[in-house]
Symmetry: C2
Subunit: 197 residues, 2 copies
């Protein structure tokens, strides 16, 4: 195992990677979804709590169910995507801590008795896992378009009714039409957002 | 640029990577902090809002300032780390949208007039950036130990007083003593947390 990532690999994941807007009609091999999960799942979460829950919309019929919840600016993006992933978190993730964090199963009680702590942990850690998802998708050669412009309550009702899962964000997956990407936005310089003490 | 990440690179970032517990005394070249930021900054955020703010504690004197805010289980970890990063988010990130998202500068108003939306956006997107930070650190050969077991209000007072920045989580950085890592926790199987519709 090499100690650092090559320039090529940095380009694939970060320096040259771009958020997808619209997609080509190249389909996504459904085996890649499993490969994607089997890569992202190794990213660290607090107490290995792994609160993310995923719902992959892979058919036109499934995609139709999410359309009414989208903000206008995201409709064409979702329509053009071969796959749309709904990323959510299980608000009762702590029920699984005895399995996932076997050396301190009693930590379940920290969250069982403190709804605010549970909410913060679920949101923070499912979002970390959402970023691992984005990076893992790029690692597999997929382009992705993460988006939070939608009605969360409506998505929860449609896809997570009767569960303790709440939606976090959506992510389109496929092979983007690079000619339809937006210009890349500027980033802050190190000095603008970093202090060294 | 290759289309997919090699098995070696997947190992470095995901499949073989491990959260650091205690560190060797090998120091971290401070130029790496800049390299780390210049890699992670390219990860996508909503409306390119880039709300993360970073404070790197690189001296014993700086590290001493965070000690009183730590939960007991994290004291030895922080003490042994050559660098501790405090990751926070600027609750007034939207002030910079006209610069960062120049094709829709009016989006600033969405958040200016809706504190809840601003809080959710700041937390979600700084957390995505926190995960990019973890992956970028690994890409540079660093080991990291993310942790949320600390008193956020106390850290905010110590490092972000007089600003609109709120702490999110901490991350130790260095070269870990692999013999002191915890056993790797189990992960959910695909079928346990993923639906395909």
């Amino acid at each position: 195992m090499s100690n650092t990532l090559s320039a090529d690999a940095r380009a694939l994941l970060f320096t040259e990677a771009r958020t997808a807007n619209l997609f080509t009609d190249k389909q996504v091999d459904l085996d890649l979804l499993r490969e994607l999960y089997d890569l992202m799942k190794w990213g660290p979460t607090s107490m290995n709590s792994c609160p993310v829950r995923l719902c992959f919309l892979t058919t036109e019929e499934a995609k139709k169910r999410i359309m009414p919840a989208l903000f206008d600016g995201n409709i064409a993006r979702v329509q053009s995507a071969p796959i749309v992933a709904v990323l959510g978190h299980d608000m009762e993730f702590f029920e699984y801590l005895p399995k996932l964090f076997p050396h301190a199963p009693e930590n379940k009680k920290i969250f069982e008795n403190n709804e605010t702590a549970a909410q913060i942990n679920a949101f923070r850690n499912s979002t970390l896992q959402g970023a691992y998802f984005i990076i893992a998708a790029r690692a597999l050669g997929l382009d992705c378009g993460p988006m939070s412009g939608f009605d969360n309550a409506r998505v929860d009702q449609e896809f997570f009714a009767g569960t303790h899962v709440k939606s976090n964000f959506l992510c389109t997956l496929g092979y983007s039409d690079a000619s339809r990407n937006f210009d890349r936005g500027p980033r802050f310089e190190f000095e603008e957002v970093c202090q060294v003490l």
